[in-house]
């Protein structure tokens, strides 16, 4: 790693211990995982009081399983948001990915590798397109990725009349196998998260991403090739979506033209990222927080399920939770800013 991009050691003045604790708690990553723990506990108490069982194996498996698709997409979204961009095309890309995977595989194990490659190639292409429109054509990411999403939507609608293709039996096991209570797909999620964590924290690219998102102008002045950084972030995001699409295809056994949009992965992934403490303007946050955000959403869903809460009311609660969480972060940040 070049010395130029290595952050200088932070000022050595250590704050007094209680202050450090307070800071640690104000850190959104710690906060969101504490919240996940809290929500789980609360859910356990409420469900138990009402005579149900919360921490059963099927339930734990279900919660973990529900983290995977949204988690993978939200991880990708984290990368673009950190660099100060945004990706609204993820939902359509996820749908198209499941279709490409299932059609290429056509039910045979032999086509598994070509199918995986085809999906990743598709995503590479879409990621490049997003990135190039944002960096070269200078179109705001919001509009650029919304536009690319529309293009994908037209493509899907013009070519598919419903679920298509078939995933091979052994590929389906990615969606259904588990080790004890832990679905194997969770390992996939963790592996991707670790890889991205490594990129962000241990490579020059990662530092460039934080720098670009923090202050693009300053980053450029200090020699960061910001455009390339944003482009790579978009490609990484699209690849994560591709992996999510492969997982979804394994779970569905087929490709589904509406899977991504019906699950509202575009807005939900952004919500999860922000819930995880990553700042929407870029430059601060990380993958661990995002995983926490996804976990909170999955646990909440499970609690809502157990309590048979009206699906419409669920949305109200979700909206309140998202706003409240981000308000708490903003407050924590302001406080930290004052004391520091």
């Amino acid at each position: 790693m070049a010395a130029a991009s290595e952050p200088a050691p932070l000022p050595a003045v250590r704050p007094p211990v209680p202050d450090r604790w307070r800071r640690r708690l104000a850190d959104p990553t710690v906060g969101i995982w504490l919240a996940a723990l809290g929500v789980t506990l609360l859910g356990w108490i409420v469900v138990t009081v009402r005579g149900g069982e919360f921490l059963t194996q099927p339930n734990i498996t279900g919660i973990l399983q529900n983290c995977v698709a949204l988690g993978l997409i939200a991880l990708g979204q984290t990368m673009v948001i950190l660099t100060g961009s945004l990706d609204l095309s993820v939902a359509y890309l996820a749908s198209l990915g499941t279709l490409v995977a299932a059609e290429t595989m056509a039910g045979s194990d032999g086509n598994m590798v070509p199918a995986v490659l085809a999906v990743l190639a598709l995503c590479l292409g879409v990621g490049l397109a997003n990135g190039l429109v944002v960096t070269r054509l200078k179109v705001n990411a919001f509009i650029a990725t919304l536009g690319v999403g529309l293009i994908l939507r037209g493509w899907i609608e013009d070519n598919y009349t419903g679920p298509a293709g078939e995933v091979s039996r052994s590929f389906q096991r990615l969606g259904y196998d588990r080790i004890g209570p832990v679905p194997v797909s969770v390992f996939l999620l963790v592996a991707v998260a670790l890889a991205l964590w490594f990129v962000l924290r241990r490579t020059r690219l990662g530092h460039h991403m934080y720098a670009t998102g923090g202050d693009e102008h300053a980053a450029r002045l200090s020699g960061v090739r910001t455009e390339r950084t944003v482009l790579i972030a978009h490609v990484l995001c699209a690849l994560c979506v591709g992996i999510a699409a492969l997982f979804l295809a394994a779970r569905f056994g087929a490709g589904s033209p509406w899977a991504g949009t019906e699950a509202r992965y575009d807005l939900e992934s952004i919500a999860a990222v922000v819930l995880g403490g990553t700042i929407l303007a870029g430059g601060r946050g990380g993958v661990l927080g995002t995983l926490g955000g996804v976990t909170v959403l999955a646990v909440l869903d499970s609690v809502f399920n157990q309590l048979a809460i009206d699906p419409f009311f669920k949305n109200v609660l979700r909206g309140v939770v998202i706003i409240a969480a981000v308000a708490v972060y903003a407050r924590g940040r302001r406080r930290a800013g004052r004391t520091g």
């Binding site: 609608e157 298509a164 259904y176």
Partner: protein
């Protein structure tokens, strides 16, 4: 909807422990011995093998199956078996299957579980209300657990897994998508009796699959009506909700066939996303573009009134039009004395799975595929379904008039 064949269930399969040989493709290090929730060696997949290869033309053919089309047209002419005036208990060409193996001891409270695709449109809302009222009628149902997938395939798969591991006596599934829930339903079949309704899945493992005649019959009924009532050479505007929804694709492919055989010209096929504002714009533009429109075919009725208004706002007579059994359309039809027809995709089918479930748990025979009649509302019987006290988006074919809580629970006065 792909054909779902009734037949034998797959035997209960124990969960198998095997070594996964797959995960290496995606991420290294996932090779550990693990349990699988996937159905091992499921039945041969009828849809998978029936699927045409290639893209483009073949894609369109995917949703047209000649045999099924012919079968539906024949079924819609037949008289169903079963009690008069209770279409949700009637059945067409039933082939009964034994359900003795599922019979519960007498007098035991039943725990019924239901994995619902969601309540994201008024049709499903009316349906769920109807189903809940049906459940309330039966004292032997001690518990009724509903998980709502909010239109997400992935969540519905988890819901099905979750329910099949609870102490449910029987699982009812209303799939969000045909193909994508197949593995989950197959898995659930190994644990408890399953009843699927509305859309099918690509497996015959459920005890029964409850559904009305189907999309081909729906589309053909509307198209045939236009063929009869529009002068030869007339221009037809086809309004569809959105592409890629299998049930709706079937309706259109049957209509397309009927129009091809007629002397009518399909001037435009447009998607409205079920949005009345879009519908109104699309219809006005079509009138402007073609000078006149002589007939309107719709794949569902949610926006039929908006289409009618578009003609009125343009100062034109409303041409023959097909809609659905929603109150606003039925009332507009009656008030304006239109030439119209309303094929239904009846919401009364939400009652049937509950009735079937109780039969199964009593060990009584049920049809392996429970085909319900699919009434078509015409000018003669329209007034039987009009009820001004009900909400505009209420479906007239709910068969819910005799249920407790009617009409307040359905939003009526």
């Amino acid at each position: 909807m792909r054909t779902h064949r009734a037949g034998r269930r797959v035997g209960r399969l124990a969960r198998r422990r095997t070594a996964a040989a797959l995960a290496a493709v995606l991420a290294a290090g996932l090779l550990v011995s693990c349990s699988s929730d996937a159905p091992a060696e499921g039945p041969p997949d009828p849809a998978g093998s029936a699927q045409p290869e290639g893209e483009g033309e073949a894609q369109e053919a995917e949703f047209f199956e000649e045999d099924e089309y012919q079968r539906q047209l024949a079924l819609s002419e037949e008289t169903p078996e079963g009690p008069e005036g209770r279409p949700w208990e009637q059945m067409l060409r039933p082939e009964m299957v034994s359900t003795e193996e599922y019979a519960l001891p007498e007098g035991e409270g039943i725990h019924l579980c239901f994995s619902n695709a969601g309540v994201f449109n008024p049709w499903r809302q009316v349906g769920l209300t109807t189903m809940e009222a049906e459940v309330a009628q039966h004292e032997e149902i001690a518990e009724f657990t509903v998980l709502d997938a909010e239109g997400k395939d992935d969540k519905q798969i988890s819901d099905i897994q979750n329910l099949s591991e609870q102490d449910c006596d029987l699982l009812i599934v209303s799939p969000n998508t045909t193909a994508t829930l197949t593995p989950a339903v197959e898995e659930a079949c190994t644990r408890l009796p399953v009843i699927v309704f509305d859309r099918g899945v690509n497996t015959d493992c459920p005890v029964t699959f409850v559904h009305p005649v189907g999309g081909y019959a729906y589309g053909a009924a509307a198209a045939d009506f236009l063929v009869e009532n529009v002068e030869p050479g007339g221009k037809i505007l086809a309004l569809r909700i959105s592409p890629g929804v299998d049930v709706l694709e079937n309706r259109w492919s049957a209509a397309e066939l009927a129009f091809e055989d007629s002397e009518l010209e399909v001037a435009d096929v447009e998607f409205t996303e079920g949005d009345p504002a879009v519908t109104k714009s699309v219809v006005s533009d079509a009138i402007a573009r073609h000078g006149s429109i002589d007939g309107v075919w719709m794949d569902s009725g949610a926006t039929a009134v908006a289409a009618i208004e578009a003609f009125e706002d343009a100062g034109l007579d409303v041409p023959p039009i097909s809609g659905e059994d929603q109150q606003d359309f039925l009332q507009a039809w009656a008030e304006r004395d239109l030439t119209a027809i309303a094929p239904g995709y009846p919401t009364f089918q939400w009652r049937t799975p509950v009735i079937a479930a109780l039969k199964v748990l009593r060990g009584e025979e049920v049809p392996g595929e429970w085909v319900l009649p699919q009434p078509v509302i015409t000018e003669e019987n329209r007034d039987d379904y009009v009820n001004e006290d009900l909400p505009p988006l209420h479906y007239g074919l709910c068969g819910c008039e005799d249920l407790p809580g009617y009409p307040q629970d359905w939003g009526g006065r």
